[in-house]
Amino acid sequence: MNGVQDATDNLDLLWVYLQQEPLLWLTATLGAYAIGHSLHRAAGGSPLVNSVAVAIAVLVALLVVTGTSYATYFDGAQFVHFLLGPATVLLAVPLYRNFNRVRRLLVPMLAALVVGSITAVVSAVAVAAALGASPETLRSLAPKSATTPIAMGIAEGIGGLASLTATLVIITGIIGAMIVTPLLNLLRVTDWAARGFAVGVASHGIGAARAFQVNQLAGTFAGIAMALNALLTAILVPLLVGWI
């Protein structure tokens, strides 16, 4: 009897320890991503099985079952989250390698950026408004194609919910990564620069991650598109917000 009690106490202590240390949720994040990555490969590399989506589903289920808050989870996962900064700086490496090609394609890039950026904001708000979304949701939705920190800042500035925006930004990224390959095959856009740039404008870093999986040049243009669209969205959304 006593032995059982001791074992239970020890388990409680163990759980308290695991909850306080970042190790558990850091490990869980990598484990969930590894599951997503394996499923993606088992599906023959199909873009429809998205590693990020699988990882998020596994982790949310795990947090709900164990009654763990997002704040506790993020204490551990922040070490992975932090690497987004250095990874962004690293985009300079493929950019430098393909610099001549980027410079030659400056005009098509800027034309596509302006049209794509306006399309991203206007179409999202128009569809959601037509289907009866609340004003707060519309304002959180408007910057959804920009990269997370920028999009959150924009949403805050126009009266949206920054944390809702972060979620919508990630879902936008996952959708873009899933549909870009079949969609652009259907439209017969056969150029890697054009394909990468398009998914970067629509789906920021998650789109760029998908592009890098397929082709270095596509990844490079997706990274540039992500940076340029973040800037343009920050200018566009406050100008267009009067109509929301």
């Binding site: 994040t29 991503y33 990882a55 982790l59 949310v60 947090l63 992975v80 989250h81 690497l83 987004l84 900064g85 990874a87 962004t88 700086v89 690293l90 490496v93 493929p94 430098y96 610099f99 394609l105 098509p108 034309a111 596509a112 950026l113 049209v115 794509g116 399309t119 999202a124 569809v127 037509a130 289907l131 949701t137 939705l141 959804k144 997370t148 972060a166 979620t167 919508l168 990630i170 959708i175 873009g176 549909i179 969609l183 652009l184 856009v189 056969t190 150029d191 620069a193 054009a194 740039f197 398009a198 629509a202 870093g205 998650i206 991650a209 999986q213 990844g219 940076a227 800037l231 920050a234």
Partner: protein, 121 residues
């Protein structure tokens, strides 16, 4: 390897400091990318160690979005009540943006005679 990681962090730190001091609405790391680009242009080559770090981190870029994505659990209630406008808007807008951006890029590059199909890799 240590020098490559140090260079990365220094670029990011410079970016963050300047963005905050000047109050410009771009993320620090994006500015840091330009510093790194300048450094590479000055070196005229990509150091082997930096190349290795870039290979590891950029090939698993999508892992880095997982912690932010788990934040979806904070918005279950809203997504439940507004799932139709939200999902419809995200799907339609993302597909339309990819299609329009790619078509404009492709059309302009061909009009300018910049499309070289044989160089695809």
């Amino acid at each position: 390897m240590v020098h490559a990681i140090l260079a990365l962090l220094v670029c990011q730190l410079l970016g963050e400091v300047i963005v905050r001091a000047a109050g410009v609405p771009i993320p620090g790391p994006v500015l840091g990318t330009f510093f790194m680009l300048g450094a590479l242009a000055a070196l005229r080559e990509v150091p082997e160690a930096l190349n290795a770090v870039a290979g590891v981190l950029l090939s698993h870029l999508s892992l880095l979005f997982v912690p932010a994505g788990v934040g979806v659990m904070l918005h279950v209630a809203r997504i439940r009540t507004e799932w139709l406008p939200l999902l419809a808007a995200l799907f339609v807008s993302t597909a339309l943006t990819i299609a329009v951006t790619a078509l404009v890029f492709f059309w302009v590059m061909r009009r300018m005679g910049l499309y070289e199909p044989e160089q695809r890799s």
